[in-house]
Symmetry: C2
Subunit: 150 residues, 2 copies
């Protein structure tokens, strides 16, 4: 995968994160791409918008992609390091690659995924970091709720 | 937690699994209970019914419970050993206990959860085993799709 492909995919996840923020939600976005580079699904965290704690960005993108017989060769791109819930999704369904905007404001399960054969690309994107940093400073209680921290 | 409490909670998950099977779906059910024993949410796998691969039994019960500030002291009861996706959910949100109908037809991430401090109770319920065994024999391709096996 070329650097420009990675950037183009991450841009879709960032657009989702911005849309989530604009609608009063948590600014994390994701998209799932097929082995051939086709966009299968995209989405953002909707805890606030839908009152639904099960909709993280990655699960939203996974859901939007609908039923798939195999995830071999697919890429999940997400603006933030995937939490254990979303890392478990990646492992269970055999998603081949995870492109991560940043792992600085939150470090989820991506090392574990790498140990289990998932290709991990951490972009270290300054916009992703800035968006989460501002959000966490503004709404710490909401952020802690979203990751199950007391 | 007494054995009769465990049995009563498992009965709710089994009722969900049966409802899922009766509506043409995958017979796995779950329920989430609060620290005080209150039923917070219940549900079943709805891959077939909703065309939604993100709705496993445990995520359905978690969603039905709505937003919660903390999962400390909660119990997830499920008819089947939780897959990595659902195990990740339990770990991320700090669900304290998982009651599992059976882990014979499928062995998910419950050993990993135990290593990370989650209390695990495997009931070895013959009805749960029989229901999954019959379903897997009848619809092997659907079962493999649900757990991401090629």
């Amino acid at each position: 995968m070329s650097d420009s492909d990675t950037r183009a995919m991450l841009a879709v996840a960032v657009a989702e994160a911005r849309a989530g923020l604009a609608s009063g939600g948590i600014p994390i976005g994701a998209a799932l791409y097929g082995a051939d580079g086709t966009l299968l699904g995209r989405g953002h965290n909707r805890r606030v918008q839908d009152g639904d704690p099960s909709v993280h960005a990655e699960t939203a993108a996974f859901r939007a992609a609908g039923r798939q017989r195999s995830y071999k060769g697919t890429t999940m791109v997400t603006t933030l390091s995937p939490c254990w819930y979303c890392s478990g999704l990646v492992r269970q369904f055999g998603i081949s690659r995870v492109v991560i905007g940043e792992a600085e404001t939150f470090h989820g399960g991506h090392d574990w995924l790498a140990e289990h054969g998932v290709e991990i690309v951490v972009v270290d994107d300054p916009e992703c970091v800035a968006m989460m940093r501002a959000f966490i400073a503004d709404r710490p209680e909401l952020w802690h709720e979203d990751i199950g921290e007391d």
